[in-house]
């Protein structure tokens, strides 16, 4: 059932219930009031007659005359103790209004009943509904009965009831459809919005929805919708860009691989040529594996929730440096670690290790032979800072703003793809940023005034795990962890 139908039905039903309740109350009050007024009239007549008739019994002729009239539409009868008619109003049929038992009851206490009363033969109507009041008149047990017609009262009540029924029908006819129309008017912007969203879904249109000029809930709903839509489109655009970039990046090694294999298949290849082709193919395959690995890591990074476990950051950085000893030795580069006591911090140990690995790989790639890469771990008040510096050429200035974007390389900004096989796909720093974001921290890249690149990771340490009184470790306890230069 639509909101419209529900509201219309509900509104109609509520209006009807109110009207019926009010009507019943009104009519019953009206009836009670009129009844009281009739009773008042009867009492007055009875009192008057009592005064006239006095205590005398049996009644005199004069008394009978007093009974015969019908002042104010009231009629009277005087019944004997055994219930026979002593005297009565001229217009009433000459028989007692009350039965004998009723007469006896009236002798004990005043009786008020409604009764069909027969009229005298000369009256134009047979019977009439009347309110009857009877009470004992004297010691002899005679009962005075007075009656007044209910006709006017009953008619008034019936008319009131009929009017209420008519009113009810009118309310039903107006309220239901009225609520229906009002709801329709109120819901029209919602329906329009629904149709717009449907159209958006069907086409590739990106909205936004039209926001109604009214400053109501519906305008706010449209605004909220637009915010959500914009965010969704941004996410989709981001994903599409990633897929397009990934496609492009995958095509390059595949092109080389395909071309090399095809060339190797040509006739009359020497074993040396074939070996060279296999070497190139192996390098390209490595490149593809690395790229796929990084892409998978990045796509998983978006959905993986942080599962913080306490670990020693200095230890992780040290083992990362140890793992780089081989490449560092080949490139004649020393890696210096400057750190103090262990810095315990809750976080994703594998993620942090991966970020440090990426920074070290970049630094080693750009560090000149015989230079040093300086790594420092600092424990501030509530955050950890890991800095990696090299003595290379530094980042090209135009690369800095996009350093952490996917598929950007400093080499591209320099204008020429580098010839080294270690050239990355431009995902290393993107992965670093994504890991930092997951830890609620950030990564910054810059050039030092004296040359060389510097990348800093900074993320908040989970409270309770950072040790109180930890001093900045920089400058203290410098140690040479790995150093081909130092050894040779």
């Amino acid at each position: 059932m639509t909101i419209r139908t529900r509201l219309a039905l509900l509104f109609g039903a509520a209006a009807l219930a109110l009207l019926v309740g009010g009507g019943v109350l009104f009519v019953s009050q009206l009836q009670a009031g009129l009844n009281r007024s009739l009773t008042g009239t009867l009492r007055t007549r009875a009192d008057n007659l009592s005064n006239v008739l006095g205590d005398a019994s049996p009644a005199t002729g004069l008394d009978r005359r007093a009974l015969r009239g019908d002042p104010g539409g009231t009629f009277a009868q005087l019944l004997g103790a055994d219930g026979h008619l002593i005297a009565g109003a001229r217009l009433l049929a000459p028989r007692p209004i009350l039965s004998r038992t009723e007469t006896q009851r009236a002798q004990r206490h005043t009786l008020i009943v409604d009764r069909q009363v027969a009229l005298a033969a000369d009256a134009d109507r047979g019977t009439e509904t009347m309110q009857v009041l009877a009470r004992r008149l004297d010691r002899a047990g005679d009962v005075l009965v007075v009656a007044v017609t209910r006709e006017v009262v009953d008619e008034a009540v019936t008319r009131a009831r009929r009017q209420f029924v008519l009113l009810g029908v009118a309310v039903l006819v107006l309220a239901g459809p009225g609520a229906w129309l009002l709801t329709a008017a109120a819901l029209r912007p919602v329906e329009r919005m629904r149709r717009e969203v449907q159209a958006l879904e069907a086409s590739d249109d990106r909205g936004p929805l039209r926001v109604p000029r009214t400053r109501d809930e519906i305008a706010r709903l449209a605004e909220t919708f637009n915010v959500v839509l914009a965010r969704m489109h941004a996410a989709v655009a981001h994903e599409q860009a990633l897929v397009a970039d990934a496609g492009h990046e995958l095509r390059t090694p595949l092109t080389v691989l395909k071309g090399e294999l095809e060339l190797a298949r040509r006739p009359h290849r020497t074993p040396e040529e074939l070996a060279a082709a296999v070497e190139v193919a192996a390098v390209e395959t490595d490149r593809l594996v690395r790229l796929t690995d990084d892409l998978l890591f990045l796509s998983r990074e978006d959905e993986r929730g942080p599962r913080p476990e306490p670990f020693d950051v200095v230890g992780v950085v040290r083992s990362a440096i140890d793992a780089m000893a081989g490449p560092a030795q080949r490139r004649q580069v020393r890696i210096l670690l400057s750190a103090g006591e262990p810095v315990t911090c809750a976080g994703d140990q594998d993620g942090i290790r991966r970020a440090v690995d990426n920074l070290l790989t970049n630094a080693l790639r750009h560090a000149p032979e015989g230079s040093a890469v300086a790594v420092s771990v600092t424990d501030d008040e509530d955050c950890v800072r890991v800095t990696v510096r090299d003595e290379g050429a530094g980042f090209p200035p135009e690369f800095l703003p996009v350093a952490f974007d996917r598929f950007t390389r400093a080499d591209d900004a320099r204008g020429r793809g580098d010839e080294t096989e270690a050239a990355g796909a431009g995902l290393g720093l993107a992965i670093v940023r994504s890991i930092m974001v997951r830890h609620g921290g950030r990564a910054t890249a810059g050039n030092r005034p004296d040359g060389g690149a510097e990348v800093t990771l900074r993320w908040p340490c989970q409270t309770g795990t950072a040790r109180a009184g930890a001093r900045p470790a920089q400058g203290g306890g410098t140690s040479v962890i790995s150093g081909a230069g130092a050894r040779t």
Partner: protein, 236 residues
């Protein structure tokens, strides 16, 4: 045969150089768009293999500049993105063929042979005669920079004339190239269209360039002449 390979990825470039050298080409390699443009204007290459994603100058822009400099070496572009828009932009900028990465080297080789076979005739992206210019890709025609409002038939007619500047084109030739078999050979529909075209490209500028060659057909002069300089000009 001398080929220029413009490719910024060093390994792809090496592979191309090796393969093409084996095929008997002399191969020059560059990874920079500006350098490529300079080389292509200095040396009349038999073919150019051009990667569209280039640092320095965009491959498409390079292609356009090359054609603008009236270098007609056939260009085979390599696209990494499977994006149709890129290919359209490249072809409209003056490239002659394209291959999407990763490609088969044998196919690259075959396409290069086909391109070289076609030779290097002038094939400008924008057709020009005097101050009259027409860009088929943008569907835009101008005289002296002023845009001309042409119907599609008039546009086709002007393009045909611009491709045969200073040649007398008979009505039969025009009909053969611009009308299908259903066209009535006896009607003067061609004369009407030429007249309409002339009303748009010549009259408003007070010049005569599309002239009637009595008894033969029509000819588009290489440059426009002011009406005053033509004795008894244009009775129609």
């Amino acid at each position: 045969m001398r080929v220029l390979v413009v490719e910024d990825d060093a390994r792809t470039a090496r592979m191309l150089q090796r393969g093409l050298t084996e095929d008997g080409y002399s191969v020059d390699v560059t990874g920079d768009g500006r350098e490529a443009l300079w080389r292509a204007t200095e040396v009349d290459y038999d073919a150019i293999v051009l990667d569209l994603m280039l640092p320095g100058a965009d491959g498409i822009e390079m292609c356009r500049m090359l054609r603008a400099a009236e270098r007609w070496s056939p260009v085979l572009m390599l696209t990494a993105r499977a994006d149709v828009d890129d290919r359209i932009a490249g072809l409209d900028a003056g490239a002659d063929d394209y291959l999407a990465k990763p490609f088969s080297f044998a196919e690259l080789s075959a396409r290069l042979r086909a391109l070289v076979r076609r030779g290097r005739p002038a094939r400008p992206v924008v057709l020009v005669a005097g101050d009259l210019a027409l860009d088929p890709a943008a569907r835009r025609a101008t005289r002296g920079g002023v845009a001309l409002e042409l119907s599609s038939k008039e546009f086709a007619l002007l393009e045909f004339f611009l491709r045969h500047v200073d040649e007398v084109l008979t009505r039969a030739t025009i009909r053969e190239h611009l009308w299908d078999f259903a066209a009535d050979a006896l009607s003067n529909v061609i004369d009407q269209h030429v007249a309409a075209l002339r009303r748009k490209i010549d009259r408003p500028f007070g010049v005569v360039q599309l002239e009637t060659v009595r008894g033969s057909g029509y000819r588009l002069r290489p440059v426009a002449i002011p009406v005053a300089a033509v004795p008894g000009a244009e009775a129609d």
